[in-house]
């Protein structure tokens, strides 16, 4: 899958309504943002859906995968406009990504692209002169103030000029942490208060006003000890430059700041070749990654929910590194799939992935299984045998149920992690190994540490990055996607007709709490497919536990003694599940506003899917 893009004037936006609608409907991922008067739209289309691009192409030229990437990178890094180095482009792109995530329009490609752009920006701002930022007149004036006064924290400025001018001056000075900025226009300031100011910023044209300022300045420069700065943004002809003859008074006309601005522009322009090189390298890496199948975690993990998209983002971030990752989550949530996805997306993708369940191997065998043994180490050890640490050399070792690892082996594992060395059972020589460790647990490891069942040092060594896989009941959007996937798998395996879920069965599945998570769902679907008399799964094909949820909201009211608040909470939870956390739909169904819904969710401790 590849990224395509179009760009048109924002003023012509209405002409492209149908195109936008087509892209939104047919693409896998899509984002759009407005930047410098142009609407930019980028989407990821499935190869099989080439028809989208063909149809769009009829109305407007399309940018290809590489061109789209280069465009997005250049916009975000501030290389595609007059204001070189501005972050405005990145902010527009970032807003598009956030909004796309909320609308479920951002998947693995745009998520990875966002991560890559953040990394490129960090690189560019640390290694090129773009770090100086964009300096315009007001920020140059603020820089001049810093040059004279140093820390502006205890300094104050008086601004004479219209309110928009005051706002711009204030923003620039606040950026440099000035203590206080006041507008003379809004407030009457007494003569004795005038001496409290250190900076006077003026933008007035009339002679009367200029005369007034001439009177003001001597009152403001109250002592010879401290400096005073006059920044004149008025007409140069009426300038106040004579005031600069007073020894400790610095007068600067805004026109002289132009040299600062042009120097800044030159510095930023000088950074372009280096920034281009950084971008080019990253684009090449992205192209290589996107054209391989490594990126598509969604091929191995079926998930549409926001919560799982966040997990995917983490996978993309940690995969290229060698960092140890702890994957936590309830039983059956798919922790091993996450580990496999990290392995596949990372640099060790073509090296071995070996999984060990620390809880499933007897304690006395675990050590020799992990670290191997030498001939004669124990009865039956007739020859040297490599452990799985060595078998996974160069690749990834996945330690499932790490909390079950015996204390004695925790010490040995810690040493292996710290020194990248293992000693086989009965051996007296260490062997170097190069293994990336991924571990998983369904327990709270911190709690295990506090209760003395897990070594604290090992915990901190393992806890480099944690990925929490949410339980299925918290990601309602995934339930039907997974159910349909399992039905399709069953049909393919048994070569039967394609199964489909009836609406009522689907509703029951989304209402059920799934304590056994994805594994339980898989079993329920398998059972339903086997027992079903037709190609449609009906509620009667589902097990008793799932059926108990039928009309639960009504039954709970009738069967239990509940307060109104409890009923309200229960009903809100039900509606959220039913509407797949679409807050607008839930609020509309309940007949309350979005804010009221949010307040009630907060009151009952119902987690928002965006949190």
């Amino acid at each position: 899958m590849k990224i395509s893009g179009i760009k048109y004037r924002s003023s012509d936006s209405s002409e492209f309504d149908s195109i936008r609608e087509l892209i939104r409907e047919k693409s896998v991922e899509s984002i759009n943002f407005d930047f410098q008067g142009y609407e930019h739209q980028y989407w990821v289309s499935n190869d099989r859906e080439k028809s989208i691009n063909q149809r769009v192409q009829k109305s407007i030229p399309i940018l290809g995968h590489e061109e789209s990437l280069q465009n997005i990178f250049r916009i975000c890094c501030g290389l595609s406009n007059e204001q070189i180095g501005t972050k405005k482009g990145f902010k527009s792109f970032e807003s598009a990504i956030i909004s796309g995530k909320q609308k479920d329009r951002v998947g693995p490609l745009f998520s990875r692209l966002y991560t890559d752009i953040e990394a490129v920006l960090r690189n560019i701002y640390s290694s090129t002169t773009l770090r100086t930022g964009v300096i315009e007149r007001f920020s140059a004036a603020a820089e001049l103030s810093v040059k004279i006064f140093g820390d502006l924290n205890d300094k104050s400025a008086l601004v004479i000029g219209e309110s928009s001018f005051f706002k711009e001056v204030k923003a620039a000075l606040k950026e440099r942490d000035i203590g206080f900025v006041e507008s003379l226009r809004n407030n009457k300031i007494r003569d004795e208060e005038l001496s409290a100011y250190d900076i006077l910023v003026v933008k007035e044209e009339t002679t009367d006003k200029i005369n007034q300022i001439y009177e003001l300045v001597p009152k403001m420069t109250r002592s010879n000890e401290s400096s005073f700065l006059i920044l004149d943004f008025g007409s140069a002809a009426n300038s106040l430059h004579e005031l600069g003859n007073i020894y400790n008074v610095f007068y600067t006309h805004a026109s002289s700041l132009d040299s600062v601005i042009s120097r800044n522009l030159k510095l930023r322009s000088d950074a372009i070749p280096e920034a281009e090189k950084i971008i080019e390298r990253r684009v090449k890496e992205f192209l290589k990654w996107s054209e391989s199948d490594k990126w598509d975690v969604s091929k191995s993990i079926i998930a549409r929910s926001h919560q799982m998209q966040k997990v995917f983002e983490l996978i993309y971030k940690v995969a290229p590194s060698n960092a140890i990752v702890i994957i936590s989550g309830e039983t059956g949530t798919g922790k091993e799939l996450v580990a496999k996805a990290i392995h596949k997306s990372g640099q060790r993708g073509d090296k071995p992935f070996i999984a060990v369940n620390c809880g499933a191997i007897p304690e006395n065998l675990l050590e020799s299984t992990l670290f191997g043994y030498v001939k004669g180490a124990f009865t039956g050890a007739h020859e040297d045998k490599k452990g799985i640490f060595q078998a996974a050399d160069g690749g990834v070792l996945f330690l499932d149920e790490i909390a079950e690892l015996p204390m004695m082996l925790q010490v040995k594992l810690l040493r292996a992690l710290q020194d990248n060395e293992i000693t086989p059972v009965g051996g007296n020589r260490s062997n170097k190994v190069n293994v990336r460790i991924l571990a998983a647990t369904n327990k709270n490891l911190m709690k295990e540490v506090m209760e003395g069942r897990f070594r604290e040092d090992l915990f901190y060594r393992l806890n480099v990055v944690e990925i929490v896989v949410p339980p299925l009941r918290e990601r309602v959007d995934d339930i039907l996607a997974l159910a349909n996937h399992f039905l399709l798998e069953h049909s393919n395996r048994t070569q039967k007709d394609k199964f489909r879920l009836s609406d009522s069965a689907a509703e029951l599945l989304t209402q059920y709490q799934w304590p056994g998570n994805v594994r339980e769902l898989q079993n329920v679907i398998e059972r339903a497919a086997v027992l079903s008399d037709s190609s449609t799964i009906l509620p009667s094909d589902l097990p008793e536990g799932v059926l108990e949820n039928r009309d639960r909201s009504i039954s709970v009211v009738s069967e239990k003694d509940m307060s109104l608040e409890e009923i309200e909470e229960e009903h809100i939870r039900l509606m959220l599940r039913k509407n797949r956390y679409n807050y607008n739909s839930v609020a509309e169904t309940l007949g309350i506003g979005r804010t009221t819904l949010w307040r009630k969710m907060k009151k009952y401790g119902i987690a928002s899917v965006d949190e």
């Binding site: 001049l144 040059k147 004279i148 140093g150 010879n224 000890e225 400096s227 020894y247 610095f250 002289s256």
Partner: protein
């Protein structure tokens, strides 16, 4: 050629190269692959230190008894103090100013003054060594204060004339330069006071040396002490303006240079130990 002569030529040459590299960096035209200014300075200081040790080992005495020895020790100390400031502030903007003075003084020391110096038994007393070292430390601090004053003067003139060029961009803030200047003067004043007091004490121990208050070097040192004393006093009374701080700092340092060169070379003073 003997080692002393080689080092006598090499040290100012190295400082010249270092100043050149600092100037290139100040102007923003130093090539990425060229020697880093700090490395060049470290090499210069290291060779200068070797020179100082060779001077010491060749005579068996600290090289502070002669004008040449005192001057090169002063230069070495100034370079080391600057290096520490550069390391602490992570800012090389003082570099070309300090190194210009360093180069000038080292060239004078290397070319014009007899490295053999004078050897008087008076100079072998520990108290004398502390007296000289205190004065050298104070002069180094005053030198730094004077450099900060020159930079302040330069930057404020640039801002006054609205010439916001490379000097404006490269120099630190006026406030910072003011603080460095004041701190240097306070620091130097403490050592100058101690140095002069030890000098009087030392003189009182050897009446046969014929020390007189009218000795040009003593007069010059007392004038220097008075100038910096006025600086400290006005500052403590919170009456010190930027203008008077710069003026006093520069006048004080000119007096020091006068003491070093004019008094020591042209006037009759017992401090020549002849």
């Amino acid at each position: 050629m003997d080692t002393l002569l080689i080092l006598r030529i090499t040290v100012p040459l190295l400082y010249a190269v270092t100043l050149y590299i600092y100037t290139l960096e100040f102007r923003g035209i130093l090539k990425e692959r060229s020697v880093k200014p700090t490395i060049a300075l470290m090499i210069s200081v290291a060779i200068h230190l070797v020179f100082w040790v060779v001077l010491y080992s060749s005579s068996g005495k600290y090289p502070i008894g002669s004008l040449f020895g005192t001057l090169t020790t002063f230069v070495l100390l100034l370079s080391i103090i600057y290096m520490l400031i550069e390391y602490g502030m992570n800012d090389r903007s003082f570099g070309i100013f300090v190194l210009s003075l360093v180069l000038l003084l080292q060239v004078v020391a290397s070319i014009f003054i007899n490295p053999e110096g004078i050897s008087s038994p008076l100079l072998e007393e520990v108290i004398f060594e502390i007296h000289v070292i205190s004065l050298i430390i104070s002069y180094s601090a005053f030198a730094l204060g004077a450099i900060a004053a020159v930079m302040h003067l330069l930057l404020s003139k640039k801002i006054k004339h609205q010439e916001l060029d490379i000097v404006y961009h490269k120099l630190p803030t006026l406030q910072f330069l003011r603080q460095v200047g004041i701190f240097s003067v306070y620091f130097g004043f403490v050592f100058l006071t101690a140095g002069i007091a030890l000098g009087f004490f030392n003189a009182s121990q050897v009446p046969e040396a014929g020390i007189s208050l009218s000795d040009p070097k003593i007069v010059s040192a007392i004038i220097t002490w008075l100038i910096y004393g006025i600086f400290v006093l006005i500052h403590m009374l919170k009456k010190l303006t930027a203008k008077s701080a710069i003026n006093l700092s520069l006048i004080g340092f000119i007096t020091i240079l006068f003491t070093f060169f004019v008094v020591n070379t042209l006037m009759e003073t017992f401090h020549l130990f002849q």
